[in-house]
Symmetry: C3
Subunit: 416 residues, 3 copies
């Protein structure tokens, strides 16, 4: 029987600027703490309003052993409930999506309306008070169409501030006027933090992402200057400055926001597309000829948004790619990717799924392999934390700092 | 490292009339206690005499990590042994059934007769005393042809009383003169107690069992009276009273026996088949035209028998369906179903397997889905125990009460 | 929550001459101790020099969660490193084999030469000291071409003594002048010690290995004399004595060496091939017509070598079969088998793979089934240790004694 893990001590002993000690990636005990203190107490990105445009539309999201139903009510309000019948606990709906009038448990037909109220059940007897058996609600908020839930009784501070900051950036892409053209789930064979760390740097891009590095400019993600690249970097900075002026003229905020260290942490920046391109596609041209919202130009670069602990997004003129990270176990992580286009765009007329999705489908697969390789390696007894690059892995360090701080705060609150 | 689970405290705190707290369904520790204190110390239904009609016939049954060989000796006695060689512990027989002369371990040919005595082994040396290396016996009893084993050194009280009560009900169906026409194993993705709870109510039948509810009268399994069904319920009661008279005239005991709260708990009742039918088939008519035992009428309703902790059975005029629940892990349960017909009945002449098995094959699959759905739901952190219906889930509550009482008693005996 | 396992107490209480108590085979805690104290602190057989004949050739070996790269450097030296990048811990190479110039981590292109030195990495900043980030070395030694690694900082004593003893026996087969004609991995569903115990006796051979017992003489592996076999045993002893004389004349040491109880324990003996045969093949004739080394006769019997804790080998005149046991989990074990022939032998000219490999492929599969059967049996609560035969299972007992002594020593060193 190994000694109980002292997570607080592990946090205190962690060397800043270095990858995390192995138990953070491997320990089932830390994983339970992650679920309880990180995923249980922060705002989680889980989907978009266009997942459920009409009354009765719903989808579920699974986080650890929890399952949450997110549903559009008849008054168009979006609500979230635990996917657990109040009778004997059966799941109301299998994981997935669909359309419902009421939420009817298939086991014994306990029936809830879309406000979560129990409105029908048989054989309960005279004194049974249905009011006491509503579905358990989950906090849900829309940020310009991005849906965030919080499983805690009392959500943490900061959502309003995040919305205030990000809404002007995201709003021009009008998520409400998009549809989900494609969604793909992959399961990565690694800890969710390795998935997040992999997302927070592009140091690995050149060697691993031949498709992504066509439209993506790595210089936007941190670089060490050297005699070899000093001219390129200067060019990039000049281009960036020029483009920011243009974007501002178009009414598109583009300056970097970096508030990753807040409880509800986030970051946003608009960056040019490489090769004077337009979008995250194999030829850098738009994948959908019907542009988003009221945008009239295709060459508007890409707005990238990151939130703590579990999402990132790229908004182009023609489409949006949106990523949600959902932990399954200490060594399994679901990456759910949605591609959004204008809701009136027609497949095979305005866009082809293949062009729309090929860059990020390939990139996700490549990243999945890297995460698996990283997880296998840190599982070795010989692993010891190594140094993050101060130039290219600064955002990885910020993710780790946020994570450790939030975990430590959670553990402290347990003790009180 | 989570705090050790205090099962005794969980038992004491459980709210009567409500489904069990989550650890009873999920905790590997409770599962080990279930194996040790419930399955290790009570009479378990595992099969029928017709599984092993001839000398040398055997079958195995797996309970947790244990495997037991049940064999018919040359003197026709039925014996049970742990399926573990006394040399280096190898399994004597792979799970399944067959015919043997002696039990020979395939590893080093240690050879046991069907009384479990070691009668041959090589290279043991001069002073080796074979008497000390008999197979470890397991208690086994036949109740009118139903085989029950007990893994404890000293079985609990109550088997004789159960036999005295049930034998007159079961005997007319003459299990000894049947054969196993079909056996099917399914693995349900849930805790064994969810399998049992699901069996102990028919509240879920109407919406989930379109095949079963053709022959089965739900009124026999508890119902809340309402203006809608008061006339139907009165009709049912009247029918039942009338049939009890008829069954008594045929020499078939039919009054309800309800002793589910005893250590060796059980229940029996004979109920009419719906639609003035005869058997558990899609058209309610007999599946086998050769009736069981000395029965001369097909329309004798169905005798249902339940035993704690792991079985139920339906005896009709033409066939018997018999169910054995065997836990695999906290979240996996084997349901083994046998269909018995008269031993002289010929397949495709007197009965077709399809008609014989279709109702309960479909019903088992439906129940398996419900158990999986229930297990998934109670795994959620949002699950809290909900109320059983006093009208339709009284037997579920009785199962839970029996289980908790037996578990508490076992835990207390540990402390002494 | 079960009480913590007291392995030291289990060791002290073990009854000599009997199979091990169940926790040694089943407990995940003992398995972790096995990895740490047995596999982490002793010399492990992992492969042969002909796996990596040329500069840049490498193969990996996985032991528990560890992965080690074994590589031939440009100076022909053989080196071993942990397969873990010093940056963020990613596995440098997926499990398997291949050819490299340098070892380049695919994640961020950290580049190591074949001495394990970090020679290239980008974006590290000015003060970065590459000397501090060499790959972690693993001790490796060649014993006449058999490669042994030790994961401990300081290897245990005894390797030099083992080499001095075994080299004269093995050298005539000239491993350096062989090639790996075939390699096969099988995963046995049992604890690694059951794999080893199975290897250390031939009591099970007659009934389980119809192919192997054609060339193998069981009398060489221990036998209880009896009126039935006394003449056969005398014949065998006479044959053995006669052959030892002949082997000595050929310059082949053949006397039994038995030092299995040393920290770096081993055993060797040359035995005749049955039926006046030559090799471990279905017809007992050589599988490869090009003999090994400078051997000029085919009928040289078989040199068998065993090492603690994880290998055995058979050297014939025409080929070598070599076995490496690698634990995966408490109930899963990898058995990796290599067949070696003269490096100049041509497939389908000098040998056919089928004849070369058929005896041991069949034998391994049979042994895998036995190990699975043994593991299933000892998992039963009814298992208790049984007696080893003093005639046929003496080497099993020696393996167990070595294992328990080494484990006890390791546990004691923990406490100091």
């Amino acid at each position: 029987m190994p000694a109980p893990l002292d997570t607080a001590r592990l946090i205190a002993d962690r060397r800043p600027g270095y990858s995390l000690p192995a138990p953070f990636y491997l320990s089932p005990e830390v994983f339970r703490q992650d679920l309880r203190l990180i995923f249980g107490r922060h705002w989680l990105y889980v989907g978009v309003e266009p997942d459920i445009p009409e009354p009765g539309d719903f989808f579920t999201v699974e986080i650890g052993n929890d399952s949450i139903i997110i549903v559009r009510d008849d008054d168009l309000a979006i609500r979230a409930f635990h996917n657990v019948c109040r009778h004997r606990g059966a799941r109301l709906r299998a994981p997935g999506s669909g359309i419902v009038g009421n939420l009817v448990c298939p086991y014994h037909q306990w029936t809830y309306n879309l406000r979560g109220e129990l409105i029908q059940n048989q054989h309960a007897g005279e004194g049974f008070d249905r009011c006491k058996f509503s579905l358990k609600p989950v906090h849900i908020e829309s940020l310009a169409g991005l849906l965030f839930i919080c499983l805690a009784q009392t959500p943490p501070e900061g959502f309003a501030a995040m919305r205030a900051s990000l809404e002007p950036y995201i709003a021009p892409h009008q998520i409400a006027n998009t549809k989900v053209a494609f969604q793909k789930d992959i399961i990565e064979a690694g800890n969710w933090k390795l998935t997040m760390e992999n997302n927070r740097e592009c140091y690995h891009c050149t060697a691993n992402h031949p498709e992504l590095t066509v439209p993506l400019m790595e210089f936007g993600f941190g670089y060490q200057s050297s005699p070899d690249n000093v001219a390129q970097m200067a060019n990039f900075e000049e281009l960036l400055a020029r483009q920011h002026v243009g974007w501002t003229e178009c009414g598109l905020p583009s300056a970097e926001i970096e508030r990753l260290d807040e409880i509800t942490g986030f970051r946003a920046v608009r960056l040019p597309i490489a090769r004077a391109g337009e979008s995250h596609t194999v030829d850098t041209k738009v994948a959908c000829r019907k542009l988003l919202g009221d945008l009239h130009r295709a060459d508007l670069g890409g707005l990238s948004v990151w939130t703590q602990p579990n999402s990132w997004h790229h908004f182009m003129s023609d489409h949006i790619v949106s990523f949600s990270v959902l932990p399954i176990s200490a060594d399994r992580t679901l990456l759910r990717t949605r591609w959004l286009v204008h809701k009136d765009a027609q497949e095979d007329v305005d866009y082809s799924l293949d062009k729309l999705t090929s860059v990020w489908t390939a990139t996700n697969d490549q990243d999945g392999s890297l995460v698996e390789r990283a997880h296998a390696g840190v599982s070795s007894g010989a692993y010891e934390p190594g140094p993050y690059s101060p130039f290219t892995e600064g955002l990885v360090e910020k993710f780790c700092e946020w994570y450790l701080d939030r975990l430590a705060t959670g553990l402290e609150s347990d003790e009180q």
